[in-house]
Symmetry: C2
Subunit: 264 residues, 2 copies
DNA sequence: GCTTTTTTTATTGTCCGACTAATGTCCAGG
DNA sequence: CCTGGACATTAGTCGGACAATAAAAAAAGC
C-alpha cells in the first residue's frame, strides 16, 4: 500500500539543484551533460534520466504539476508536455486526484531510441548491457542472414562505401562512427523487414554510445574493420550461413570490448 | 523538394468529418472505433492512425496549430500535447516557422506498443504482418530457449495455471485471451532479459489483436492449446532445444492461421 | 551577377490564470 | 459492515498573449 508520497512536503528531487533554465537558455542536466533544445524536450530528458537512474522509483508519485513547474521555474504547459512525452514512452501515468506516478519498469519502452539514449547518459548497469547484447546476438545474426538473401546490388555498394570510410578513419573519429552506423543501416534495410529494421536501428544507435565511451576512454579495443569486412563479404556473395556466423562473432567481440571498457 | 503544403488552404483532412468531441464526451474515430479517455490521448490516437493509414503522408506538413485546433474545436494546449505524444514516437517533428511534419516511415517507432495498437486499428498490410511474424520467429524461439534454461519453479507454476485456463475457456473468450497473454508474459519474464521482454511484450500485445480478429470472424483455426502445452513441457523439463523448436512451430502455425484469416 | 548579410514573417514555443472534470477519500446513514 | 453521497485534490482543458526560432525574402556588399 503506497502511502502518501506528498507528505515529504515540497522537496523536489531532481538531480540538479535548479539550473534547468540557465542564463544562456540551454540547460545542464547534472553537471557535465548539456541539453539544448525545446524546454519540454529538455525536461523530459532530465526526468527520464532521473527515472532510469532510480532518483524517482517505480510507484512513486511526482509532486503535483503546480508545485513541480513552479519549483522548476517553468510554465505548467511546458511541464505537462514533458510529462506527455514520458507517458508516451510508458514511463509515467497520470490520473486526476492521484497525480502522476512512475510506472513499473516492466512497462517502460526500453527499446525506444530516446529511452536508450537516456540510459547511456549515466553508465548503465552491467545487467542491462548484457541483456542488450544478448538481444543483439539474437536479432542481428538473423538480420545478416536475411540481408544476405535479399540484398540488392545497390545496398551492397552502399555498404562497401561505408566500409571504405571506416577503414580510412577509425571509430575514434566522428565520421568513422557515422560510417559504422551507415553500414549497419544499409544492412538493416537489406533485410526487407521493417519491424526488424525499427528494432535494430534503435539498438544500433544505443550501442554506438558505448563505442563513443570506448573511444573516450581510449580503451585498447580490437580493430572492428576486419569483422565488418567478413560480414560484408558474406553478404556480397549471398552466403546466408556465413553472414550469420560472421555477424555473431562480430557482436561477441564488440561485447567483449565493451565489458573490458566498463569493468576492466 | 517538398513544395508548399499549406497552399491547399484550411482543409483539414482528418478521417472523420468532425466528431472529435461528441455529445457524450467520448470520441469516435471514424465510424465504429470509439475512444474514451483524455482529449490529448484521443487526438494522438486519431492522428496516429491517420498517419499509419497514409491519410497524412511522410514529409507532409500538418496545418498549423491554431488552424488545426480551432477546426477540431479543441484548445491549442490539448492539440500540442497530442503532437508531443506523436513526436515521442518518432512520427512527427515540429519546428518553428516550418511547422509540424510527418517524418519518414523509417523513423517511426513501429514496435511501440501503442503504435502497434494503432496499426491494427485498420487492417494492416500483408507485408507488415509478414515482417512481424518473421521477427517473432527470430526472437520468440530464442526467448523460449532462454526461458527453459533460466526459469524458476514459480514461473513454471504461473504458466501451468494460465495454460489450465486456456484449456477450459478458449481464445474465443476474453478470459481465455488474457490467460494466453499471461502465459507468454510469464515465459518472457523467465528469460531474465528485460530488453527482450520489452520487445516481446509489445509484439505479443499486437499479435493478440490478430487473435481477436480471428475470433471475430470465427475463422476455423487450429486449437492452439496443444502447441502451448508442448512449449510448456519443454520449458518445464529445462529442454532448451525442445523449447526453441516447439515455439518455432507454434509461431508458424499462428502465422498460417492469421494469413488464412486475412486472405482466405 | 553572385555571395553574404540583414530584415521580415510564419510558426512553434512558452507563459499565465482561470475554470472543468475526474477520482480517491471520508463520512453519514442504512 | 456495507453503501451512497458530499468533499477535496489533482490532472485536464481552455483562451489569449507574447517570445524565440528558423525559413524565406530583401538588402547590402563584393
Amino acid at each position: 500500500m503506497p502511502q502518501d508520497e506528498r507528505s515529504t512536503g515540497s522537496r523536489l528531487k531532481i538531480s540538479s539543484p535548479r539550473p534547468l533554465r540557465g542564463e544562456a537558455h540551454n540547460l545542464a542536466t547534472h553537471g557535465h551533460t548539456m541539453y539544448q533544445g525545446r524546454l519540454h524536450g529538455a525536461l523530459a530528458h532530465r526526468l527520464g534520466v532521473d527515472i532510469l537512474r532510480g532518483t524517482f522509483k517505480s510507484g512513486e508519485i511526482l509532486p503535483n504539476e503546480i508545485e513541480s513547474s513552479s519549483k522548476l521555474d517553468i510554465s505548467r504547459s511546458a511541464y505537462r508536455e514533458a510529462i506527455r512525452i514520458l507517458a508516451a514512452k510508458g514511463m509515467v501515468e497520470s490520473r486526476p486526484k492521484t497525480g502522476t506516478r512512475v510506472t513499473e519498469r516492466e512497462r517502460w519502452n526500453l527499446l525506444d531510441p530516446e529511452v536508450l539514449g537516456w540510459m547511456f547518459e549515466t553508465e548503465p548497469s552491467q545487467d542491462f548491457i548484457k541483456a542488450l547484447f544478448e538481444l543483439r546476438l539474437i536479432t542481428e545474426p538473423a538480420a545478416a542472414e536475411l540481408a544476405a538473401i535479399r540484398r540488392t546490388d545497390e545496398q551492397v555498394e552502399t555498404m562497401r562505401a561505408a566500409l571504405e570510410i571506416m577503414k580510412r578513419d577509425t571509430l575514434q573519429t566522428e565520421t568513422g562512427r557515422r560510417a559504422d552506423l551507415e553500414f549497419h543501416h544499409a544492412l538493416i534495410q537489406a533485410t526487407g523487414n521493417e519491424a526488424l529494421a525499427s528494432l535494430s536501428s534503435s539498438i544500433e544507435a544505443a550501442v554506438s554510445w558505448t563505442t563513443r565511451y570506448k573511444a573516450r576512454r581510449n580503451a585498447l579495443t580490437r580493430d572492428p574493420v576486419p569483422d565488418h569486412e567478413r560480414v560484408f563479404e558474406a553478404i556480397e556473395r549471398r552466403d546466408a550461413g556465413g553472414a550469420r556466423w560472421c555477424m555473431e562473432s562480430l557482436i561477441r567481440m564488440a561485447h567483449e570490448d565493451t565489458q573490458k571498457t566498463f569493468h576492466p
